[in-house]
């Protein structure tokens, strides 16, 4: 508690000035957004981002040369300025954490201020920019003259700076495209979210798409609405051979379970046909000791599903099985004439010619009979720099774990 209140904007600047500057930047950003909306479709690409990055660094150094003896430098490399910038960025990110970040068509205050697409708004850009300036001055102040006891501090802060700088500049060069692979066909074109097509320096032939599924589940739905009935949990139980389970008020026994089957006449038979679907013969008993027996099936793209009517209000049905694992066996061709066989699987991407290829999806209507595999191809030339930053922060975190706050306890004593 200071006894005399310092007039605003009189040196040395403190928290009041810091928050005023940060909020001021936020306000200017929002005003700019309101008048000339930032076009989220355009982004700064190579070589523009590289040039801008160079200009930013040069200006930063020139700015440093100009102010390094002034009070402004002490303020910008000080903690009140850092806390102001961090707090206002946090505020902005909280807005981002509450409002859905999706493109919207309506014209209202949210879309006018780009609150639904904050990461591409002016205010977000300004605050990050301001944070980069402050962080840079903090690092410079701690590094020159360099003392070994500061290495952990410099490592973590510089790591964060590199991460923000590289991720921000690199976002324009990041390409995330999708490719539709059909079995036994070779594809070399990929498309973005707006439907623009790109030719890639590689071609992929899908040899086989393999999908491994969980067993389907039993569930009770309301006849009228088709909604899942769930007065008690669990409301879905996985079908297994000889399973007996209590589902709400009903006791369900699985008498027979056929993972692949087709209906012929009165019952389902095992069948290894294109489109064969899981089916089960179930017995259901209620409190009234009456036993209902019948076949249920979740069907497939070419076979109807079948449920068992429990009473006027509810039916028992089998859900469509969920995937356990899906993968694509592919051959990848590159312009230099090389070809290699690879397996693409979720969490196991493959790198070819600077692109990373991810298993993304498939034709969900066809389920396990899908002959379509959707893969994502990603190119991010700046990733390596972001990772350098991330690893520096990790080293900083280990340092932090090891040192704790010992440094300051000593200096306080």
């Amino acid at each position: 508690m200071s006894k005399t209140t310092k007039p605003l904007w009189q040196n040395p600047w403190g928290y009041a000035e810091s928050f005023l500057i940060a909020f001021g930047l936020l306000l200017i950003g929002f005003l700019l957004e309101f008048t000339i909306q930032s076009n989220s479709g355009t982004s700064i690409r190579y070589p523009m981002n590289l040039i801008l990055g160079g200009v930013f660094l040069t200006l930063l150094l020139v700015f440093y040369r100009l102010i390094k003896k002034s009070k402004l430098y002490l303020f910008l490399s000080g903690i009140p300025a850092s806390i102001g910038a961090i707090s206002v960025l946090t505020l902005l990110v909280i807005i981002m954490g509450v409002t859905p970040q999706v493109p919207m068509q309506d014209k209202n205050l949210i879309t006018k201020l780009s609150l639904n697409q904050l990461t591409t708004s002016w205010s977000f850009l300004f605050i990050n920019f301001y944070l980069l300036v402050i962080l840079a001055f903090v690092i410079i102040r701690k590094s020159f003259p360099f003392k070994w006891k500061n290495w952990g501090f410099v490592c973590s802060h510089l790591g964060l700076w590199i991460t923000i700088f590289a991720a921000g500049l690199g976002s324009g060069d990041l390409m995330r495209l999708k490719m539709d692979l059909h079995e036994n066909k070779t594809e070399w074109k990929a498309y973005d979210d707006n439907g623009n097509y790109y030719e890639l320096p590689l071609a992929i032939k899908l040899n086989d798409f393999i999908i491994d599924e969980f067993n389907p589940k039993l569930a009770v739905v309301e006849n009228e609405t088709g909604k899942l009935y769930e007065p008690t949990k669990p409301s879905m139980i996985m079908v297994e051979k000889d399973l007996t389970a209590q589902l709400h008020d009903w006791s369900v026994t699985v008498d027979e379970f056929l993972p692949l089957s087709g209906r012929a006449g009165e019952k389902y038979h095992p069948l290894h046909d294109f489109g064969a679907a899981p089916a089960a013969k179930v017995s259901v008993s209620t409190n009234s000791a009456e036993i209902l027996t019948g076949w249920i099936s979740c069907g497939s793209f070419n076979r109807p599903h079948e449920s068992l009517k429990l009473n006027d209000n509810y039916s028992l049905l089998m859900t469509v099985p969920e995937p356990k694992k899906f993968s694509s066996e592919v051959t990848i061709y590159t312009p230099d004439g090389k070809k290699e066989d690879q397996i693409l699987e979720v969490n196991k991407p493959q790198s070819v010619n600077g692109w990373k290829i991810y298993q993304l999806s498939y034709d969900e209507k066809m389920g396990k009979y899908s002959s379509l595999s959707i893969v994502e191809v990603v190119k991010d030339p700046w990733q390596i720099y972001v990772y350098i930053g991330i690893f520096m922060m990790m080293i900083g975190a280990i340092y932090m774990f090891w040192r704790g706050n010992k440094v300051r306890i000593n200096s306080e004593q």
Partner: protein, 261 residues
């Protein structure tokens, strides 16, 4: 075979960890007992790995084994460095809890995880968060106790030192959780940061503690505002942990696993 060996390994670990809590007099004996429990888990995981001929990371039960192993290892390392006995026991308790869940639900050993969760990053990501949240929760308790003492005008500076150290350790693990998450996201979803609501809130939590740390660094003498900051940061952490699913932004999140079988 796999199940019987699990019972033996889990039995050895449980026995040595429980014994370690009962014989607190001799430091060396306790450490040896904790180490025995860790080794027993490690040997079992190695056995499982070689008999399955794949890394045991595909099922729910298998990931819990890794939790048990890593949480107890980090607990021991933290104990070696900081002598927080409560943290060691918390870690051992969490490890035992995961082993016990596996014991109660043997079917979990064959229950496969959804494809996106089958990753070597899954376990470290969760483990460091479990430890980080424990440290930060403990720092919040210190903050509440500190605020209570401030009201009674019996505040002592040493509370602040305890709180600071807990935050530093918790923040280090929080940073790891966040960064492991980013590295994993790159392998699973193609980009390291997509502003998914859970990511966004994890970032806000991280920033909240960052504000606390910087505030403390500058004004070590002003503790009331710092204590309030610390309490508030934990509220944000709770939003990140439980609250995100109830926010309007969550309908587009990849972190909601309600569809998980």
């Amino acid at each position: 075979m796999i199940w019987n060996y699990f019972l033996i390994a889990a039995g050895v670990s449980s026995a040595s960890w429980i014994l370690s809590a009962l014989i607190p007099k001799k430091d060396i004996i306790r450490n040896l007992l904790v180490l025995t429990g860790i080794l027993s888990m490690a040997v079992y995981i190695a056995f499982l790995w070689s008999s399955l001929e794949r890394p045991p990371l595909r099922t729910l039960g298998e990931t819990r084994l890794w939790y048990s192993l890593f949480i107890s290892i980090i607990g021991l390392i933290t104990y070696f460095r900081w002598r927080y006995l409560w943290m060691l026991y918390y870690c051992l308790f969490m490890s035992l809890l995961f082993l016990f869940i596996n014991y109660l639900h043997p079917e979990n050993f064959s229950k496969t995880l959804m494809p996106a969760l089958q990753s070597p990053w899954f376990v470290p990501h969760v483990v460091v968060y479990i430890i980080s949240y424990a440290f930060l929760a403990a720092s919040t308790l210190v903050a509440i106790y500190g605020l209570y003492q401030v009201r009674r005008e019996k505040f002592e500076a040493k509370y602040m030192q305890i709180a600071d150290n807990l935050v530093y350790l918790g923040f280090a693990f929080l940073t790891f959780g966040l960064l492991f998450g980013a590295l994993w996201a790159k392998e699973a979803w193609g980009h390291y940061w997509t502003w998914d609501p859970k990511e966004t809130w994890a970032f806000i939590t991280w920033m909240g503690y960052l504000v606390y740390i910087h505030r403390r660094y500058q004004k070590p003498g002003k503790y009331v505002s710092a204590l309030w900051l610390l309490a508030l940061a934990f509220v944000i952490l709770l939003v990140c942990w439980f609250g995100v699913n109830y926010l309007p932004s969550a309908q587009f999140s990849v972190h909601t696993y309600s569809m998980q079988p």
